[in-house]
Amino acid sequence: MKVLVPVKRVVDANVKVRVKSDGTGMDLANVKMAVNPFCEIGIEEAVRLKEADIATEVIAVSVGASQCKEQLRTCLALGADRAILVETDEELEPLAIAKVLEAIYEQERPEIVIFGKQSIDSDNGQTGQMFAALTGIAQGTFASELRITDGKAEVVREIDGGLQTVLLSLPVAISTDLRLNTPRYASLPNIMKAKKKPMDVTSPGDLGVDVGARTTVLNVAPPPERAAGIKVESVDELVDKLRHEAKVIE
């Protein structure tokens, strides 16, 4: 059973990013990059399926610039068997990514595709669902548990106010939630071995996918700064400020 795991290269979750002064995007010069944490959970889950003798091959795929190879190498070190980079210097939107992945899916025919539920940079949370719609396969999103038995995937989903368990026929697209697992560290001996694992490079053009943008970013702005707190002298002053300045009481 093949498992395909799409991974995105994103700004490290701990980095405090700054908006570029011209408002065209984020300032990413010299910023630490990492595998999107939800994609990392996807890789971990796939590797666990392999360790449990359910999966036979784990393939990591990334769509983006050549530097994504760094993150793919990490995935190989974590236990993926091979990697595919669909190289492009364009900033692709979720639909374009989903189409590229559809083309990879047609090539590879995996039974399970494990997405992150969202990427921590653009927070779109759409790619997995769009992919499932394009390919017409079942989807189990926001997974906090995954069990594969007899050609079916049992997925426990995190939904508003509780958990929902769904039973889906393979092939299936899963998206990971935070509680699905805790990813392991990349082991250094495995990083050494990962250098010998294959990494194919292709492009949206080679795959025959139209990745043209359908949306335009007009402006990127930081959230408004919070004003500093002040000390009030009396309860009356507090009530007055809550009523007239903050306007939170009548």
């Binding site: 979750a13 630490k32 990392e40 560290y185 990349a186 250094l188």
Partner: protein, 458 residues
């Protein structure tokens, strides 16, 4: 009570506390094993108040204990003899920053972490860092010349102090060095105050130099089976990469940290020791070469590397949480240093001593091994009372400290002398040196009011 009235005159608006709970709170540092018996705590806000306090202390023969974040591990800030504690909690302003000089001017009571954050917000870096930096103060750091986890790359607190304003035990205000890079005008008194543990005067303000913002960092945790191999590993990495940190801990230390269940082991295979290595992420390839070489030579058995800052922080917590994790075992702590090359011999000698006298006691080793700095912690077994346990541990002190003396090491690497190591100072300093130190104290503090009984006996 005449004293207290006089104190109240200098420190108006309730800035003199004499309640028992307050005295205990401000009169103790992290050691918690010395008697605590001060007469008052005062909270200065201005330098002239400190000058007035020193005058008063000389007149009334009051003993003064400068007190910072009270995270010290040698009892330097403990008041056990009717002293007046002088807390810097209210002198916590950062008042100047000059980007050209890259110097911050701040008061002594600024919390270390606040200075780190202040620097970060300006794209700069204050590199002195350790597990207690969320509570310790710059004044306390300077008074102990604090080191920490990045010394191998960035040095000690001393290396970042560009200027100091102090109030001496004679009540004089002196401004040392004023942020200059070069100043060849005789004795640099600044360096006398750094590491003086409050025995010469009060550190009131400091000009702290900042470093350029660091590049993203990478952390490795490596498994090592033989002690000697840790040093081989250090040498091997240093040939290839500029290290930001090189720490070590034993399997027992790791077990204590992971016992709580919130932090996973770095890898499943248990090893005798672990090395934590940190370096700039752009040196990944060189570090990988070092690892391969070390693996080939059999110096490491396995290892992991952080892939994100969150993972780097989780790996660091394996090292940084040790002190807290073993606190429940009431450890007998010792902060020792020898030359880096002496470390393996010294470690096995100490293990020998402990095993000879107390084969039943657990020894938990960790520390800044890249600086030759080791934290020896003997853990209290449940069968012994605290008093029995410390009594037994103290019996090996002379043997331990002689060993350090023979190897030319130091009985206190970075935690100061305070009360804890006072009587053992001669194991690391000659009689002539101690004599000169006493004479220096006499010059700055002729009435003996500044932290008496710390560093050496009164």
């Amino acid at each position: 009570m005449e004293n207290i009235e006089a104190l109240n005159e200098i420190f108006s608006r309730g800035r003199v506390k004499t309640d028992q709970a307050d005295l205990i709170h401000w009169g103790t540092d992290w050691t918690r094993s010395f008697e605590v018996a001060p007469q008052a705590v005062v909270f200065p806000e201005r330098i002239d108040e400190l000058v007035a306090l020193v005058k008063l202390a000389r007149e009334y023969s009051l003993k003064l204990v400068p007190s910072g974040g009270r995270t010290g591990l040698s009892g330097g800030a403990v008041a056990s003899n009717d002293e007046v504690i002088v807390s810097f909690d209210r002198m916590n302003q950062i008042h100047a920053f000059n980007p050209t000089d890259r110097i911050v001017g701040c008061q002594a009571g600024v919390i270390t972490q606040r200075l780190q954050e202040y620097a970060f917000e300006r794209g700069l870096f204050y590199p002195v860092d350790f597990a207690s930096s969320g509570s310790s103060q710059i004044g306390g750091n300077i008074a102990t010349n604090a080191g920490g986890i990045k010394v191998i790359r960035y040095g000690l607190t001393r290396d970042w102090v560009a200027g100091l304003t102090v109030v001496t035990g004679t009540g004089d205000i002196i401004r040392c060095n004023r942020g200059l890079v070069k100043n060849a005008t005789g004795y640099d008194l600044r360096h006398l105050f750094i590491g003086s543990e409050g025995t010469l005067g009060f550190i009131v303000e400091a000009e702290i130099r900042l470093a350029p913002g660091p590049k993203p960092q990478r952390v490795m945790v490596l498994g090592v089976n033989e002690l000697d191999d840790i040093l081989n590993l250090l040498q091997c990495f240093q040939q290839h990469v500029v290290l930001t940190a090189f720490e070590f801990f034993s399997e027992l230390a790791l077990q204590k940290v992971t016992k709580r269940g919130d932090i996973p082991r770095p890898f499943s295979e248990p090893c005798a020791f672990y090395a934590l290595v940190e370096f700039d992420a752009d040196a990944d390839e060189e570090a990988a070469i070092a690892f391969e070489e070390a693996l080939g030579r059999g110096w490491v058995t396995t290892g992991v590397i952080s892939q994100s800052d969150a993972q780097a922080a989780a790996l660091w917590s394996l090292r940084e949480n040790i002190s807290e994790s073993i606190a429940a075992d009431t450890p007998y702590k010792n902060d020792l240093s020898v030359r880096i090359s002496e470390v393996p011999g010294f470690l096995s000698d100490v293990d020998g001593i402990v095993n000879k006298h107390y084969p039943d006691l657990d020894v938990c080793w960790y520390g800044h091994i890249g600086d030759g700095n080791l934290h020896l912690n003997i853990l209290k077994p449940e069968s012994l009372t605290i008093d029995e346990f410390f009594e037994r541990c103290h019996r090996i002190d002379p043997e331990l400290f002689s060993l350090i003396e023979q190897r030319g090491g130091s009985i206190s690497a970075e935690h100061g002398v305070g009360l804890l190591k006072r009587d053992f100072l001669p194991f690391s300093r000659s009689d002539a040196e101690i004599g000169l130190m006493r004479e220096l104290k006499e010059v700055f503090d002729p009435s003996g009011i500044m932290n008496p009984g710390k560093l050496f006996s009164e």
